[in-house]
Symmetry: C2
Subunit: 365 residues, 2 copies
């Protein structure tokens, strides 16, 4: 860590050339029935803290970044506007999902149109980072490295051989905390993950990156020229009367590709990606097993988003989410009982991944 990072900046000390982009997409189908297409994960107060995930994300970056863009689907724009204090013109609404590269490239092009080249930082709307100050210190360091023409990813120090994330293979040292990215790897199997942790030099890819807009769009011009031209055309029209016409004409033609494949992997192969390692706690909270873990479910029952009591008979650590009636679990360890306005889910932590099929099972019932 640099001296700057071991002495975190004051609570609010914005980085002047920084614009934060928050892509808010993804339903979170393993969190059904809390998350659903009309109410995706980022709109949920998943831990019952009083703040939704996107509110938490916006609050986390606010002291660092006076300008925040949220990129989300048109159908969620009103819900996002109701939840977070982002000017309506900074809500970038996609007519339809065209994968992450189109969303982020449009944001980058829009930033260039409005403010010229800036350092852009992108963070998913639905991740949890309890220690916001440490997070901001790492982003400051990443912004510093990004000014040197690098695509900078934040690499989370692995705490277990998770098979749920892609990994960043770290290479030689750069300035400060930064290191080169040797390669990105896909989500590994358990054996590979264990081997990587034993070998060391790997970080989790949390999808957080910091890059100058001109650097990002320059890579895009080379690697995905039609996509680059498309988002530049849309961005040029965005703040004027032609937005709807241009969007309707151009958006559907944009190449569907993830930023990992479009930029991160090929640019890393060219030596253009750096990683700033981070040791702060980070959670994707993709399913009820991780929610239970995060909520401290152990021997006792844990309730989220409810006030009625939960009882357990011969049942270790039930997690009960939502609902207004008392719940008793008898003889089922690690039970998860979730009630939304629409439905009730009963499962166990070990089956958390299968919850993605729950809505479909109901259609056939």
């Amino acid at each position: 860590m640099t001296a700057e990072n071991t002495h975190p900046a004051p609570a609010s000390d914005p980085v002047e050339d920084l614009v934060t982009v928050i892509p808010a997409g993804g339903v979170g189908s393993r969190l059904w029935p809390l998350s659903q297409p009309h109410r995706p994960k980022f709109l949920l107060d998943l831990l019952g803290t009083g703040a939704t995930l996107i509110q938490d994300t916006v609050a986390r970056v606010a002291p660092l970044s006076t300008r925040v863009l949220v990129v989300t689907g048109e159908r969620h724009a009103d819900a996002v506007a109701a939840q977070v204090d982002v000017p309506r013109e900074n809500l970038v609404t996609e007519p339809s999902p065209r994968d992450s590269m189109a969303a982020i490239a449009l944001a980058a092009a829009l930033i260039e149109e409005r403010w010229g080249s800036q350092v852009m930082a992108s963070f998913a709307a639905d991740h949890l980072i309890p220690d916001a100050a440490s997070f901001r210190a790492v982003v400051r360091e990443a912004a510093r490295v990004a000014r040197d023409d690098k695509v900078v990813v934040i690499g989370i120090e692995p705490t277990e051989p998770s098979t749920a994330f892609g990994y960043i293979e770290m290479g030689g040292a750069l300035s400060g905390d930064a290191r080169e990215v040797a390669a990105f790897t896909e989500k590994p199997d358990a054996e590979t993950a264990a081997a990587m942790l034993a070998r060391g030099g790997y970080a989790w890819n949390a999808g957080m990156f910091v890059v100058r807009t001109d650097v990002l769009l320059g890579h895009l011009d080379r690697l995905q020229p039609t996509l680059a031209a498309g988002v530049r055309e849309i961005a040029a029209a965005w703040d004027g009367p032609a937005r709807a016409e241009v969007l309707a004409r151009v958006w559907p033609t944009l190449t569907r590709i993830a930023i990992d494949h479009a930029i991160a992997e090929p640019v890393a192969a060219e030596g253009g990606v750096a990683v700033v390692p981070a040791s702060f706690e980070w959670h994707d909270v993709g399913d009820f097993d991780s929610l239970a873990e995060l909520s401290g479910t152990g021997a006792d029952a844990v309730s989220i988003g409810r006030t009625a009591p939960v009882g357990a008979v011969a049942a270790r650590g039930p997690l009960v989410v939502g609902g207004t009636k008392p719940v008793v679990v008898v003889g089922v360890d690690d039970a998860v009982v979730v009630e939304s306005d629409e439905a009730i889910l009963v499962t166990v932590r070990a089956s958390a991944q299968r919850v993605k099929d729950a809505a479909h099972a109901l259609e056939g019932a």
Copy 2:
């Protein structure tokens, strides 16, 4: 079977000297949260057929018996009156529970007061007997035997070595289908139950008996003289102005004892008890495992008392009772999900016995 029994009587062909007594007590705590002290099992439509257990019981005896008495707690009298078409004067309300002998002896004494000596048949209010015609044929046979001064129990042919019921050890043949009762045995352990089934000559004691009131009260005069005197005094005052005074004075003094211990066991030892074996299907439905069994829960989901769909993902045969929201069970075999107005229970069939502790678990939560 006698010729009479193999040709069942017409649907309604009452036995002239028969009075049916239906003791309606017992919460059914393993069926929580459906059954609760204020809403005991006999008031529930447990199978979702449209009839509660006591309604089903009354309908089953109606073609056989023009006079039906229901003995129940004072707090349940209004609910019983609302459910079944029994004249209010035939609702025998107990000020407090004093075990089965007091309840049944009071009914017997009241029958004698009103109609002189009659054949009295007693059936619990919360058992299920799908084949009502076969049931009535057996009761006719039992009434015939009862006229010969016997206490007659109906013995259910065991279909498995159940440990949930007491057993009747059958002795020598009497007239018709009847046999002597050699002895009653308590609920056996699994090994003993298996041995009894292998040996043969045992029937389940379903608590159904038929006896002349003068025979029953005669045994009671000898074996429990103060109890006999007490119920005779109450019965004499029942249909007059002194009922409340006598009930308040005498009822609390009555010996608390089960009819099994007060009459059945000692009279059997004297050779005074007969058994009429019965092969009709009979269910106590004491817990959610037996309810699931009875509802035909197998690979597919079964719903009772609800219309919303039930889905299952990697989950064999869930039973979902009550509630208005769709329910999906993921990764839990044999799940039981029960919703009442007051609470939600989540368990599995193998833990059905532990449900009796559920309400208590909630008190501590």
